[in-house]
């Protein structure tokens, strides 16, 4: 078989992405039709940078979902004779199969690794950002609302974390050795829990979403006990379940579980991001709490948590959504950086940072293994930034 030329490669790539194209067409088409009723998301369709950004993000998101259908090869399987082969090289003894973006120095398909790498990003980055927001919001609201000593203490701690060099912090938090710190505190049969730093942090940080939701429901629906009981009950059941799974790796049903390496990174990312979110939320609360509708809520006897969660937080959503998008981008870069330094994830992992790091070693001779993951990382972050810009622009127009 002849090696493929540039257009051949492009054509094959476009064809391979067919599930993504269809999914994108459906999502964008339907959203466009109903954009008038979709609030801020619908308005995004009126902003050029916003819709470009959203399309890029959606592309990678769909790629992550359909990665197994798209990738022609397994991300860690090696095919002999394909080591460092240039893009478009046909795979021997397989009819119609090519290494579209060439092979890396372990003879793995660069294209498949890039596609699979998107999964790591889309599992960790948004989830870690979401948790960071839960922590930042839950602490930032009372700090900004009550001010005084509570604010002083929390702000001081946040500043302390922010003052520490991020990369150094990651070196400390993400190294595998850190899992060996602390003592084994619990042991039931083959389950054990050690008070290592990531474990303790996980136990604390994963608690925040549950607390957040419980306070959210209790503060508003205590006037309607039946509804409150249902909501609080559901939150407690699901919350305990996921908490056991993620924080203690003890999910009885085995649905929620996290690889210790990923947990390390996850916890570290949440820990580093939450102080910044805390500061943003605190500032927003201080601004919004002077509005008359907050005073109106107070004068009808609402409790402080109702005011924070139902009066202030929804009206701080504009800047928070924008920051959320940007922060996913930063986290993606952070994950790439960590991968590049070989921290956290296992060496054979297909994540973009690790792939770039591996490709770097032979960059002067074979540039092709490093370029696709680098472009992927760049385009995703660019897409997130454009999306954030679009959202900011549209939310200000209201």
């Amino acid at each position: 078989m002849e090696p493929l030329g540039f257009f051949g490669i492009a054509g094959h790539v476009i064809l391979l992405f067919w599930p993504v194209w269809i999914a994108m067409a459906i999502v964008l088409g339907i959203s466009y039709m109903f954009r008038a009723n979709l609030g801020l998301y619908g308005k995004l369709y009126g902003s050029t940078p916003g819709i470009i950004g959203f399309s890029i993000v959606l592309f990678w998101f769909m790629t992550a979902i359909f990665a197994d259908a798209i990738a022609p090869f397994d991300e860690i399987s090696q095919i002999s004779g394909m080591k460092n082969k240039v893009p478009g090289t046909p795979v021997p003894e397989m009819e119609g199969a090519y290494y579209l973006f060439g092979g890396d120095n372990l003879a793995r398909d660069v294209f498949s690794r890039m596609v699979k790498g998107s999964q790591t990003v889309f599992v960790i980055a948004p989830a870690a950002t979401l948790f960071a927001f839960m922590v930042g919001v839950t602490l930032g609201l009372p700090a900004g609302f009550f001010t005084g000593r509570l604010d002083t203490v929390l702000s001081f701690v946040a500043n302390l974390v922010l003052a520490f060099p991020v990369i150094l912090l990651f070196y400390l938090l993400v190294t595998p050795e850190i899992r060996n710190t602390g003592y084994e505190l619990l042991r039931f049969g083959d389950f054990s829990w050690q008070s290592s730093i990531p474990n303790v942090l996980a136990a604390i940080l994963f608690l925040f979403p549950i607390v957040f939701l419980l306070v959210l429901f209790q503060s508003k629906f205590y006037t309607r006990p039946e509804l409150r009981n249902i909501l609080v009950g559901v939150t407690l059941v699901i919350g305990t379940w996921y908490y056991l799974g993620f924080a203690f790796n003890a999910d009885p049903l085995g649905v929620f579980a996290m690889d210790p390496n990923k947990l390390n990174i996850f916890v570290a990312v949440v820990f580093v991001n939450s102080p910044t979110v805390f500061r943003i939320v605190r500032g927003l609360v201080m601004d919004i709490k002077t509005r008359d509708y907050v005073a109106a809520a107070q004068t009808r006897g609402e409790g402080p948590w109702y005011i924070m969660l139902w009066e202030i937080l929804p009206n701080a959503r504009g800047p928070l959504i924008v920051d959320f998008c940007l922060r996913i981008g930063y986290t993606t870069i952070l994950l790439g950086t960590l991968g590049f330094f070989g921290l956290g994830l296992s060496p054979e992992s297909a994540d973009w940072g690790s792939t770039i790091n591996e490709g770097r070693k032979l960059l002067s001779i074979y540039p092709h293994p490093a370029i696709p993951p680098a472009l992927a990382l760049m385009s995703l972050v660019l897409g997130l930034n454009l999306l954030a810009d679009g959202l900011r622009e549209e939310s200000l127009k209201d």
């Binding site: 509708y293 005073a295 109106a296 009206n315």
Partner: protein, 879 residues
């Protein structure tokens, strides 16, 4: 007129181009400003008045564009000027003053540097020259201590001082045209009065033409010669201020005047009449007359037939109106649906505040504690009662502690000392979190800013339902929803609003929701914190009426917090005047609005701009600004600005806080002034008789109001006139009587006030009151005696009050009377007409003569204040 106008705008149209397409902001706007003339543009928000100003400056951003018409400046078309020429013009020939003074000054530059830029850039002045000119200009705008001002940064000055600096900057280049875009909206009333007077004087002094943009008709009356009324992007009426104010020929203008509380309005007998509906959005303007859908006189296929041009009003000078039917309309008829109501008798005391104090301590350093703590005395010995279904107004400027008072009532703060009792419960030390539901729902608040009182991310319905939930009203969500819908009915909003988001509502509608929410728990006391001040004039009336209707029905006590005394006079039964945390005066509305006044009340009354040409005001402009509550003056809080301070012996004002003095009928004053001085105070607001107006209105009145009602009101007015004023001191009355004698002598009283049907009295009860004040004849007797008698009576009365000084023939060398400070060329002319030519003549005046001349000059008390007599004596000696 041979003069070229400074500014001539012809058929100007300005549009903004946005994604949705072209939005016309100004259409077919024409106006002319002659040299030295002040033109007012008035209209509600969104009517395009600021866009006109920006169009003149050619500063409309990249979205705005002039799509038609011309703007000529001194005869030159500005559309043909190059960018460089325009740049040259801006700031030197045309200067603009904006609403927010802090935003017009660069916070990082000293005042001197910012001011000096103007002469350096536009006139190429040297630094020294520029400094000198800037300093002189600061003096001209009456800023105290100009040297210190020159050396300050903008944030070190108060709002009023900043605005004066901005005005100085605008005037430095001696512009031919000054554009003022709501220059005083951000300032307090007493500060506003100072700025307005300054602008007026400077206009005369420098001969600058002015374009004064405002939503406040009273301000326009005080400052402008001509006025243009704008509505929805078009000028709807233009003319001389007097014509437009007294003989308006456009239904919108009339609607505006009917919806503002003028001194004659009364909440029971002459309620405000709101303009129905709301301003159309720019892309939803109707065909034909833009005001059509809201107009009482709308006639299909006349008003919506074509785009309506400006019609000239015959018989009025330069008066134009954009109304097709102004010739056919009866301009004095009241629209239907106006009903007088019986005044409600106040019941038992519901809320009692007794010596309530609120001090805040402000720590210097929060983080590590320590540092010195300072005490801010926000409220100082506040005592007053409020009865059931009574409206108590709390009046004062920013920083007077009225918001702190509201917070204490609502439980957002607790009192430092004293007691607040609501019914039989003491609530002064119970904060909101510890109050029971009953107390919370018994005292509720309507907030000031409608754009802020509703949570923007919840539907209107859910916010009301939430309130019901909190007040434990209704048992099921269904019941509460039903109550919520009834509340929407109560505030006259369609039930479909249940699912609207606040941003889909107009300001007035939002405020109605605020009212509904406030009355959801059937409160006993409602604190209304300037509930209408942020709304447009035409909407204000509707919301005010709604609030009062609900109050009347629910027998609620209302604490109405406001700085606007016209609204207060209209709405309140009793008034509490606050200054720097102290209650300086309180009493019934009549007691507050008639002498004796507290000096601060007097200044406040004089500061409100009143949009009525028949009202005469005494001009009292307070010096300086309100002191900070952090650092209040010693003794009387008002002593730093009081004009009576030197009349109290022993510097008592500076050393001792005055005690509360109980006057007649529960009227309380906090002042050191002696009784005799208080007794001599004159009313600030008085009516000037207007013959033309009275003649015109009388017959129409008789037609429009039924005879029965007219009579009833007339009798009421008459009794009011006699009883109400009985308490006011006779000395003050006598003075006013003479002050008005001129007008009465002309004979207008015969026609104006002595209508057999008492029609005028029906229209404006205070006219009767005014007649009483004139002391000419007793109102009732005049009703019978008809035309000649009163004028004779009035004339004979005149002689008894004030004595005409002896006149002489013009001597060969008349003295230069202008040397007496306070006498200008104009006054000199009047004095000459009276046969007064020499210092000796003036020097011989006694009080009676002074009074007589004073009345002729229409300067209340100026002759005595400036002591012309002793000045003249000195001059006569020195001759």
């Amino acid at each position: 007129m041979a003069e070229t106008p400074i500014l001539e705008i012809e058929n100007l149209s300005i549009s903004f181009f946005v994604r949705a397409g072209e939005i016309p902001a100004v259409m077919d706007f024409s106006c002319k400003v002659m040299p030295g003339e002040a033109m007012g543009i008035v209209g509600e928000s969104g009517c395009g008045k600021s866009t006109v100003a920006l169009g003149i400056m050619r500063d409309m951003g990249n979205r705005g564009k002039i799509v038609g018409g011309t703007i000529k400046f001194k005869g030159r078309d500005m559309g043909e000027m190059s960018e460089a020429e325009l740049r040259d013009l801006r700031g030197s020939q045309i200067a603009m003053i904006y609403q927010e003074p802090m935003a017009s000054l660069n916070p990082a530059m000293k005042i001197s540097k910012q001011l000096m830029e103007v002469p350096i850039i536009h006139d190429g002045a040297t630094k020294e020259e520029a400094y000198q000119r800037s300093r002189d200009m600061l003096e001209a705008v009456r800023l105290p201590d100009p040297d210190r001002m020159m050396d300050s940064y903008p944030h070190q000055l108060s709002g009023g001082q900043q605005q004066r600096v901005v005005i100085a900057m605008a005037l430095l280049s001696k512009p031919a045209l000054l554009l003022l875009d709501e220059p005083t909206t951000a300032l307090d009333v007493t500060v506003e009065a100072g700025i307005v007077e300054l602008v007026k004087d400077l206009g005369k002094k420098f001969g600058t033409s002015m374009l004064f943009i405002s939503h406040n008709l009273g301000l326009i009356l005080e400052t402008c010669d001509r006025i243009t009324v704008m509505y929805s992007g078009e000028a709807v009426e233009a003319g001389q201020v007097d014509d437009v104010f007294d003989r308006m020929r456009h239904p919108y203008t009339q609607g505006l005047f009917r919806s503002i509380p003028l001194p004659g309005a009364d909440k029971n007998s002459r309620p405000l009449i709101a303009i129905p509906g709301q301003l159309p959005l720019p892309h939803e303007r109707p065909r034909g007359c833009n005001f059509g859908p809201r107009c009482h006189h709308f006639v299909d296929s006349v008003c919506n037939e074509r785009e309506i041009p400006m019609h000239t009003v015959k018989g009025h000078k330069n008066h134009t109106s954009r109304c097709e039917r102004f010739d056919e309309l009866d301009w004095d008829a009241l629209p239907e649906g106006v009903h007088a109501t019986e005044p409600v008798e106040p019941g038992d005391v519901v809320l009692r505040m007794d010596s309530v104090k609120k001090y805040y301590s402000v720590a210097a350093n929060q983080m590590f504690g320590g540092g010195e703590t300072r005490t801010v005395k926000a409220n100082e010995t506040i005592s007053f009662d409020a009865r059931e279904s009574e409206t108590v107004a709390i009046v004062g400027e920013s920083g007077c502690g009225k918001s702190t008072l509201a917070k204490m009532l609502l439980g957002l703060e607790t009192a430092t000392a004293g007691t607040i009792s609501l019914g039989n419960r003491n609530i002064e030390s119970v904060d909101i979190e510890h109050r029971d539901t009953e107390t919370i729902s018994a005292i509720q608040m309507v907030f000031q800013n409608p754009f802020d009182t509703l949570n923007p991310s919840q539907t209107v319905g859910s916010q009301i339902v939430r309130t019901l939930e909190m007040f434990k009203i209704g048992n099921t969500p269904g019941e509460r929803r039903q109550t919520m819908l009834e509340l929407l009915d109560m505030v006259k909003l369609p039930r479909a609003f249940e699912n609207r988001m606040p941003r889909q509502l107009s300001g007035g509608q939002k405020q109605r929701i605020g009212v509904a929410r406030c009355f959801a728990g059937r409160p006993k006391v409602v604190v209304a914190d300037e509930p209408v001040s942020a709304l447009d004039v035409s909407v204000q009336a509707a919301v005010t009426e709604l609030l009062m209707d609900i109050q009347r029905e629910a027998k609620t006590t209302m604490l109405f917090i406001s700085h606007d005394l016209s609204v207060v006079r209209y709405i309140a039964d009793r008034v509490v005047v606050m200054y720097l945390g102290h209650i300086v005066e309180q009493g019934s509305t009549d007691q507050i609005f008639s002498p004796p006044y507290h000096p601060y009340t007097e200044a406040l009354l004089s500061a409100i701009p009143i949009a009525d040409t028949s009202v005469q005001k005494k001009h009292i402009v307070l010096e300086g600004d309100i002191p900070s509550a952090m650092n209040p003056p010693s003794g009387c809080p008002f002593q730093t600005r009081c004009r009576f301070k030197d009349q109290v012996p022993n510097r008592l004002c500076e050393t001792e806080v005055p005690p509360v003095r109980h006057m007649k009928g529960g009227h309380q004053l906090k002042c050191h002034l002696a009784d005799s001085i208080l007794a001599e105070m004159e009313p600030v607001i008085s009516f000037e008789a207007k013959p033309k107006k009275a003649e015109r209105k009388a017959p129409a009145k008789a037609k429009s109001s039924t005879a029965g009602r007219a009579k009833k009101t007339a009798t009421k007015a008459a009794t009011k006139g006699t009883t109400k004023r009985a308490s006011s001191t006779s000395a003050a009355k006598a003075k006013t009587a003479s002050a008005k004698s001129e007008a009465v002598r002309v004979g207008d009283a015969a026609v104006g006030f002595v209508d057999p049907n008492a029609g005028t009295a029906a229209k404006r009860p205070s006219k009767a009151e005014l007649a009483k004040r004139k002391g000419a004849v007793d109102t009732t007797s005049r009703g019978k005696s008809k035309s000649k008698a009163p004028s004779g009576a009035a004339a004979s009365k005149t002689a008894s009050d004030g004595v005409r000084p002896k006149a002489v023939a013009k001597p060969e060398n008349p003295d230069d009377l202008k040397k007496i400070s306070g006498v200008g060329p104009k006054i000199e002319g009047i004095l000459h007409d009276l046969g007064i030519y020499t210092y000796a003549q003036v020097a011989s005046w006694k009080k009676a003569e002074c009074d007589w001349v004073d009345d002729r000059l229409k300067f209340k008390g100026r002759i005595q204040r400036e002591d012309w007599v002793s000045q003249a004596k000195k001059l006569a000696k020195g001759k």
